[in-house]
Assembly symmetry: C2
Homo-oligomer: 391 residues x 2
């Protein structure tokens, strides 16, 4: 609660230090009341107050420092009030590290039915039971106060891909108005659990460079603790995603963290670090893991392939995670074939371990001014397919 | 590999010390090459080479010393040869404690189709793909040699309940002949992984006291490292199960361990300890856990009950397991409602913890000559139902 900067009447509650840059790649430290988060960092996704199949102590073990909770899901189930009565999301789910919560905007866009946007907010039907609900900028801040996340996100509209320029312009001006209302609501309130809560804005604008630029500039003008780039990785070609990211990071202030929402593959992450991104979240490591696809230092590996039936080597020989230290490809393949729950546990532990190792390694490379060479080397193996024991 | 007793040409490979008795209750230590197993002991079930949703390190943490693997399941998938090439079941599944494997007899009876029993062995169709297979007494010993279990079981026939006296007599004489062939096959072979393997016989005889007695006497005459009681908990009234157990333990030698297969509820276990049983295995703690039913020191608790929605106390306040130390009833209920895999992980960890705590407490009570009083106290709460926070 100390050492914050006070500027234009706004308390900057998040400490972010940019330690070193290599090209556009950035190594920093983001400090919350739960501890330091070295950046670049990957944020495992705990949608419903749990990272699927991974216990909090295992998250710590694989090197997670910050996880993501989904306001939309937690609002619908178990309900924000339950979590507030539990003493906040950290206590509810027994996670001592940092938590970032999204605002629900993206889930309203991707999951709910019968969405109705007005200036006031967004009305939607629950994907669980069809019941009617309404989120306003003020309401999502209040909910995130009750969740007690270390980083809150503003309410935004995520436009689909493709989308008309007209729609993207109108939507973006709504998103900016909502961001301002979120900030105002934030300044009116206080944290509930004696730990500071920062607020990030979200740059939108579809795939239109000028709208993206305007969005970024307007939000920077409003001043937030950090800036996310939203509305990407929603179906557009990768090159467009990269160029939109670059347009944003050119404008966003160097001294604030940048978070590319919902991204992505290991390759996406390395390319985006190279364009100045600090934070990422994605369901890919856990979802792919549950589908028997492992990320390894030698490439992707589908453990169900017959060639692994008698392969007694670990999934990734250079990995130090619980899965790789104790179990063979043959055993894990058996667990998947036999539909054992433990298959999903071991796969999720490994894939998160891999992602967090990858991003730690990226940070080291930046600190040692060799990010470009390191990235080129990694990109080659990341796209490979591990086919059998002697790959 | 030392200190075994050699009698009648048979090497007793299992060290069992009976330390103390209290009434018929027995406290002992069963020594395998993987370590000491205090008895009475509960054996978590790892059917397919994994205790469902519980990692080996978590088994250790909850106090498991010996687990069970199913020869029938492992034979069908991944196949005994894969496990042998992995270096045995312990290495395959990364479990450093002891393993007991059943012979497959019970699964052939309960799972497979088109069973055909002959003097030679049993033919059956796989419950997975309908393929034809045959188990003989010699074959199940060879398979268990390849699995490398610390305790092997003989091939037996488990008769259904009810079953005619004639059938029970004939079946039992087949079971005894098979037990003899198993022992002979065992004496012809050697362990494959430099760790001794003991062999337990299985008393059958349905619910006919005289057949049970004859079965027990015949098997004791043949001499085994330990004796199991099979064919119970298959639908017969509990009182019959208890009286059959008692008939067997009256005859079985005091200096050998007794194992009541597939039993059971906490109440069943306490009653059977009181009748001289040392070992138990059952899927109940993990299966009930996956179905949201928790065993606690205050009784059974169905976590899905609405009354737990805002109950922020642990499942069992006196329990020291990971689940109870870190999570509330409200949180675990939410995980079940939201169908999170972690619900099953946390429930299985707790229920195994409870079973192993219960049996450790039983042992302490025996050592302190207060088993009867302790059991009476426990039986009262075990049958209770935890309804809400203030129970």
């Amino acid at each position: 609660m100390i050492d914050f900067a006070c500027r234009n009447g706004y308390l900057f509650l998040l400490k972010f230090s940019l330690i070193h840059t290599d090209g556009k790649g950035r190594a920093g430290v983001l400090g919350t009341d739960r501890g330091d988060v070295p950046t670049p960092m990957f944020i495992p996704v705990g949608t419903q107050g749990a990272v699927k199949a991974v216990e909090p102590r295992e998250l710590e073990e694989v090197g997670a420092r910050i996880i993501l909770g989904n306001t939309y899901h937690l609002y619908l189930r178990p309900g924000i009030e339950i979590i507030e009565r539990a003493g906040g999301l950290h206590r509810f789910m027994s996670w001592a590290g940092s938590i970032l919560t999204d605002s629900g905007g993206y889930q309203v866009y991707s999951l709910s039915e019968l969405r109705e946007l007005t200036e006031e907010g967004v009305s939607f039907k629950s994907h669980l039971d069809g019941s009617l609900h309404c989120f306003t900028p003020e309401r999502v801040i209040d909910m995130q106060r009750s969740l007690g996340s270390d980083v809150m996100m503003v309410l935004d509209e995520c436009v689909p891909y493709p989308c008309s320029e007209r729609y993207a312009i109108d939507s973006n001006s709504l998103t900016i108005k909502w961001a301002e209302r979120c900030k105002r609501q934030m300044l009116r309130g206080q944290p509930k659990y004696n730990a500071d809560q920062a607020l990030f804005a979200i740059v939108q604008g579809g795939t239109y460079p000028v709208i993206r630029e305007n969005s970024a500039r307007a939000l920077v003008e409003l001043e937030f603790d950090g800036y996310a780039i939203g509305g990407l990785s929603v179906g557009e070609p990768q090159e467009i995603m990269y160029s939109m990211t670059e347009i944003c990071t050119e404008i966003l202030p160097a001294e604030k963290p940048r978070y590319l929402m919902g991204v992505g593959t290991p390759e996406n992450i390395l390319e985006s670090i190279d364009r100045g991104i600090d934070l990422f979240d994605c369901v890919l490591p856990t979802r792919n893991g549950r589908n028997a696809v492992f990320f390894t230092r030698e490439g992707k590996l589908n453990i169900k392939n017959a060639s692994f039936a008698d392969d007694f080597s670990p999934v990734d020989g250079a990995c130090t995670c619980y899965t790789c230290k104790n179990f063979s490809r043959a055993y894990i393949r058996h667990l998947f074939k036999a539909r054992e729950i433990m298959a999903m546990q071991l796969a999720s532990i490994h894939n998160l371990s891999f992602y967090l190792w990858l991003i730690r390694s990226a940070r080291e490379a930046i600190l040692e001014d060799r990010y470009g060479v390191w990235k080129a080397e990694r990109m080659e193996t990341l796209s490979a397919e591990v086919a059998d024991a002697v790959s």
